[in-house]
């Protein structure tokens, strides 16, 4: 009513409060939250349709609605929208942290149960359903060998491929390679497993295995290599592109041929970044279950020869123990999962720290 009076005046009277936009007092948000929770509790328990979880969920919805209404009445629509989105973004964070924290907590609490020396020194050979013993030694050996062989195959291939894309490749062909490396990043691990199954286990290996399909750790390494290749190519490619051009020009000006420039100047400069990419790829490959399940077969005994007979891996061990009917199996599965996560996280953290020290990174 007062606005209609002031609107046709040339200048409204200078009220000290009109300089600032009207704002909700600081206690509004907690007050709305308490009111929303109380209302939600009244509705839920009054109608008898659920427990405390529903109260919190309904309370959150009512809080958002109430906050929007209050801010809309006092501060205007734009501010109300701002407040609501801010609350939504904060709640998205809380919502996601709960399950992720639960995963981490369960991993440590349940994984500690079988975390003893015996676990790392024995295999599952001759371990029956009623034996509480048994360990993952054979699986750890398998993981290390398979990932090691895969790294040996992929690193030279991936780095050479990246060198071609960055230094030599021109035109459509190089673009096609780049494009398909990107596409290859998205190939599911189980498909690479099936590929190695069809190519190596069922077609190639019977030639020198008396016609029988040869499941082996090496086959798993091949599948992991196919998985790691695009990751390594992409990270190496990015690192090579970051090498300053004057470095190359300086080498060319001194009469150094291009291949020597690449090997002696470009690669050493980009080395820390390349190592980071390789370590991240290794960490990802170490956690893969599906390809190992298909082509290494898994096994209970220690098999240190990756070229013959079944081999297990940590990830596969977790999967097999989780499906095992023995009541001691879940504890073994959790401890193996903890071991696997520790291995992967050590690699990842080391890679990230290395990346942080790298002067070339963005």
């Amino acid at each position: 009513m007062s606005t209609t009076v002031t609107s046709h005046r040339p200048r409204p009277p200078a009220e000290p409060t009109s300089l600032r936009a009207r704002r909700l007092p600081a206690y509004t948000a907690p007050a709305v939250a308490v009111a929303a929770l109380a209302l939600a509790a009244a509705i839920v328990y009054g109608a008898g349709i659920g427990g405390p979880v529903l109260v919190v969920v309904l309370g959150a919805v009512l809080y958002l609605a109430g906050l929007f209404a209050a801010a809309n009445a006092v501060e205007g629509r734009r501010s109300a929208r701002n407040r609501t989105w801010s609350a939504l973004i904060h709640s998205a964070f809380v919502l996601a942290v709960l399950p992720l924290a639960s995963v981490v907590w369960t991993l440590f609490s349940k994984g500690a149960e079988r975390l003893d020396v015996n676990f790392f020194q024995t295999s599952m050979n001759n371990i029956g359903a009623r034996d509480p013993e048994g360990g993952a030694y054979h699986a750890i050996v398998g993981t290390l060998e398979q990932v090691g062989i895969a790294t040996l195959i992929t690193v030279p291939l991936g780095i050479l491929c990246a060198i071609y894309i960055v230094e030599y490749g021109r035109g459509r062909f190089a673009f096609a390679i780049r494009f398909f490396v990107d596409v290859m990043t998205g190939i599911p691990s189980i498909v690479t497993g099936l590929f190695v199954l069809a190519f190596w286990v069922l077609i190639v290996s019977p030639w020198f295995n008396d016609g029988r399909p040869g499941f082996s750790g090496f086959a798993a390494a091949l599948a992991l290599a196919v998985l790691m290749l695009p990751t390594i190519v992409r990270s190496t490619e990015e690192m090579l592109r970051l090498v300053p051009a004057p470095l190359r020009e300086g080498a060319y000006a001194l009469g150094v041929p291009k291949w020597k420039t690449i090997l002696r100047v470009v690669l050493p400069t980009a080395l820390p970044g390349i190592v980071t990419g390789v370590m991240l790829a290794i960490a990802r490959a170490a956690g893969e279950t599906a390809p190992v399940l298909l082509v290494a077969g898994g096994g209970a005994a220690i098999n240190t020869n990756p070229f013959e007979n079944n081999q297990s891996s940590l990830a596969l061990f977790v999967y097999q123990q989780a499906g095992d009917a023995s009541r001691y199996a879940p504890a073994r599965a959790w401890t193996a999962a903890l071991t696997l996560v520790t291995l992967v996280l050590i690699l990842t953290i080391a890679a990230k720290l290395l990346a942080r020290r790298n002067r070339l990174s963005r």
Binding site: I89, S102, V191, L194, F195, R264, V341
Partner: protein, 363 residues
Amino acid sequence: MGETPHRSADAGTGGTRVTESHEWPAGASARVAEAPVSTRTPGGTGLGGGGALPRSRKFGAERAFRGLTLAAGTAVLVIIAAIAVFLVAKATPALRANTENFWTFEGWFPNDAEPKFGIGALAFGTVLTAALALLVAVPIALGIALYLSHYAPRRLGTTLGFLIDLLAAVPSVVFGLWGREVFLKPVQDLSVWLNKYFSWIPLFGGDGPFGKSILLGSLVLAIMVLPIITSLSREVFLQTPTANEEAALALGATQWETIRTAVLPYGRPGIIAAVMLGLGRALGETIALAMTLGITFGISFNLIENGGNSIAANIANTFGEANETGRGALIASGLVLFAITLIVNITARVIIYRRREFTESAA
């Protein structure tokens, strides 16, 4: 070729020394100087023109090295082609032996004397779980990414971002184990509750048992792809030019309006890339789904009853007792999965490459 890594490692000290002495002009002119280098060496010899310089030899180290890198580059194309060729080669006999329609039959009995198997139900389950997972994960992941990049205090944001990056590296088998042993109970309670009050919606109908359902599978999948999408989109959001944000703020935009007008449009290609990567992961995820779905064959939109299946989970579950035809049938289903992910990936890449011409963000 065996000694090349060794050699480059030896040269390491020399190489880094060069970097240090050239550091200040290097960073500034890297982008500008890139083009001349590429055009200066059309013959690939690395030597400039000039008659006094040695001519490129036909079979020298330069040619050899160039050929080696070319071979490595070609290997990628060969591998992709080989994947398709070998899968087709092994799948064809099984598909010939199939006595039912591969696309429409609902069931998987490839090991019988008269093999019967169909991909329909599996492909449906794959797409349904992946779509549900993304529906849940993408809004939440973008919310967290915005929180970490724009709302949280800088220190907290960096630390939590690092933790999220680490969670993205946790193997899927761990999430599967967690989903089966810990998450099953709350989802079961939720399913019973949904069934009690919302059974009139076909999605939540049925009369149990509940628990190892599509709901559980896709929620575990969502939790799994959450860190991946978050860490990628957070990086993109952090790259938003400060000038754009400050301009929006200077015009009087609220924080949300700044994000909507400056941050989100800038990061759109990156977000699309992150979501597509998440979709690729969700479509191909094997072990987590094999451990959480209650394997059935049938096309049903019921989310909460025990059941559901996916191509990848079916491969992991039935591979153990598969015979010759059974393996062929699984390889055929893998071929379908390969085709689905290939289409998704190529679409995503085309979108990103096309967008990159307009906005110069690295996706």
